[in-house]
Amino acid sequence: MYMLKKWTTAPGFLLCLAFFLSACGSSSEGNSDAGENEQAEESGSDTRTVTAENGEVEIPADPERVIALQFAGDLLALGIEPIGVDSTIKNNSEQLEEELADAEDVGDPSVEKVLEMEPDLIVAPTYLEENVISQLEQIAPTVTAPWAEMDAKEEVAYFGEMLGREEEADEWIASYEQQAEDAKEQISGIIESGETVGVYELSAKEIYVHTTPGRGSYNLYETLDLPAPDLVQEEVLDPGEQFAALSLETLPDYAADHMFVTVYEEGGVEEAEQLMESSIWKSLPAYQNDQIYMVPLEKFWFNDGVSLERQLDIQVEELTSGE
């Protein structure tokens, strides 16, 4: 099935190793900020030293074979198409399906698969185990970035600076902000003052209310600046929690006037249907005003760069569809 090109790749691999070793060597020297450009002293090829969460790493100036174990949407926003992505992204992101059609599934991750892909840069989240990161570092220059600490705009800017694509980052952010302005205009007549929006997920056992950044809520609360229901604001948003579990009985207290709802499929579809037949559900103001918007979870799973942009489109479409 898979072509083996061991003998021909040995020199390329050695080169990567050389980069990696030289990155180690230079780490003691100084404290250059992320994105600061340095010319490589050896092998004629362009590299730059960047500061990532895992220290200073020497990466190719223009990486071509990038494996993204997270942050795929951020890299796409910068015009970088990963050649390999983590299983979760590959299997769950309908939003990025098109761009990632050629990207291979590297497992969660399988280091041998990653090695065979011959990446020249690996982008990983900090939550990966130290061991796995140290194995990845032996394959190719690896940069780790904090997970779920920055919002999408910050992430795109972070990677733009790190990978020398500040321009692309600025462009993307500007276009996203423009999109947000347009969206605000479009929905201005639809959400009346005092009306709230909320993001909910139905699973087999519980109802979750999501707050920024999950399930597209970042778009609603941060970008469009729409208000959340009081209790959600007080108990979830303000303390910085990303989600909270609700029971059906307490749902009316947390329900918004406009509700975006996803269904967690594993064992949840039937339960969700039952729940939506219940009298409590049918008594929700959002239900009665036809302001419940069912959206596919596969499109709202990830919150990075390009995903967010497309989620905003869907949200605006749903909000304006009733008019």
């Binding site: 898979y2 083996l4 061991k6 003998w7 790749t9 040995a10 691999f13 050695l14 190793l17 969460e53 299983s87 599934d105 590297v106 497992g107 969660d108 991750p109 399988s110 280091v111 041998e112 698969k113 090695l115 065979e116 989240p125 900090t126 939550y127 185990e129 130290e130 061991n131 796995v132 140290s134 194995q135 032996q138 394959i139 997970w147 779920a148 990303q242 579990a245």
Partner: protein
């Protein structure tokens, strides 16, 4: 007469040891050849003697070999731990998993991941330590609850207490895990399922001294373990300081289990099956059963991990799950036979 019987037994034991070691070697080489990148046996041998290219040596020496060695070590730890627990509690159903030691270690890991300020800090050094504390506390609790004054340790009570405590701890873990973010949740879930993926030489080096030192201590007490099988009164009559020996042995068993669990997560059943197989093959003397358990445990886990990592590439099935798939039917078979 007697010497002929002994001679036969010894020959049989030697034969089985040789078979087990050969099997380990076979699986070892098979495992070296198996993986996402297929390397032919010739390439493996070339790489071993230093003639392979750098990619092959990276795969073999940094990705596969540490993992294989670790599977052998963890399997040995759990099997020896189970063997001792079965001997001390005079109960053939004892095993670090069933006695709640694994679960106790798991609870501490979950608590740590839930409340640690930064998730990245879950390093190779903090997790083993926490697992050891969690396992020890659970074992201590079970020990106290199962001890009856003047009678000694009650084997059946030990099992029941272990199950009850494990159930309580599992419930606690579920509550904690519901609050975790998806990434943390999947980390914990995989950890609890038991996995040896992403192993490096660091883990091998951190586990090896535990295993060697504890195994030597235990081998010196193999006789006492035989004697304890007769019950506390008889053992006391035979000159064994029962409580002291039992404390040392149980302590070593807990330390071994916790050390194994700390690097591999919740792998059950190895500690149950390996000693049973060992007793069948080499008799009941612990001088023989202990090393045989260690070898069989290593063999079992290595086989399970090799299956787990080659069956749905590039993803993996945690080794603990594969072991459970093999182990559960065996456990049921054991229970059915005990009734009869």
């Amino acid at each position: 007469m007697k010497s002929i019987v002994q001679e036969r037994l010894r020959r049989k034991q030697l034969f089985f040891f040789a078979v087990i070691i050969l099997l380990i070697l076979a699986v070892f080489f098979y495992s070296m050849n198996t993986g996402f990148t297929s390397l032919s046996p010739i390439e493996v041998i070339q790489t071993f003697i230093g003639l392979g290219d750098s990619q092959s040596s990276l795969i073999l020496f940094e990705f596969r070999l540490p993992r294989i060695v670790l599977a052998l070590l963890v399997g040995a730890c759990l099997a020896v731990s189970g063997c001792i627990l079965q001997g001390v509690s005079r109960n053939s159903l004892a095993d670090p998993g069933i006695l709640g030691i694994t679960t106790g270690a798991g609870l501490f890991v979950v608590v740590y991941i839930s409340y640690a300020s930064s998730f990245e800090a879950a390093s190779a050094f903090t997790l083993p330590f926490l697992a050891l504390i969690g396992g020890s506390i659970t074992a201590f609790l079970i020990y106290i609850l199962s001890y009856e004054k003047n009678v000694g340790l009650l084997p059946y009570r030990m099992i029941l207490n272990g199950i009850a405590i494990a159930a309580g701890i599992s419930a606690l873990m579920t509550i904690l895990m519901l609050r975790l973010a998806p990434e943390q949740y999947s980390f914990v879930a995989i950890w609890l399922a038991g996995r040896i993926s992403g192993s490096t030489w660091n883990e091998v080096l951190s586990l090896l001294p535990w295993l060697v030192i504890l195994f030597i201590i235990i081998m010196f007490r193999a006789r006492d373990l035989d004697t304890l099988a007769f019950g506390d009164k008889m053992a006391t009559g035979l000159g064994v300081t029962v409580e002291k020996e039992r404390l040392i042995l149980t302590g070593s068993a807990v330390a071994l289990a916790a050390a194994g669990v700390s690097v591999s997560g919740g792998i059950g059943f190895v500690g149950l099956i390996a000693p049973h197989l060992a007793r069948r093959l080499v008799g009941s003397q612990h001088v023989m059963v202990l090393p045989a358990s260690a070898l069989l445990g290593g063999l079992l886990l290595l086989t399970a991990d090799t299956i787990g990592r080659s069956i749905i590439e590039p993803s993996e099935i945690p080794a603990g799950v594969v072991v459970a798939v093999i182990g559960a039917p065996y456990f049921l078979y054991l229970l059915a036979r005990q009734k009869a």
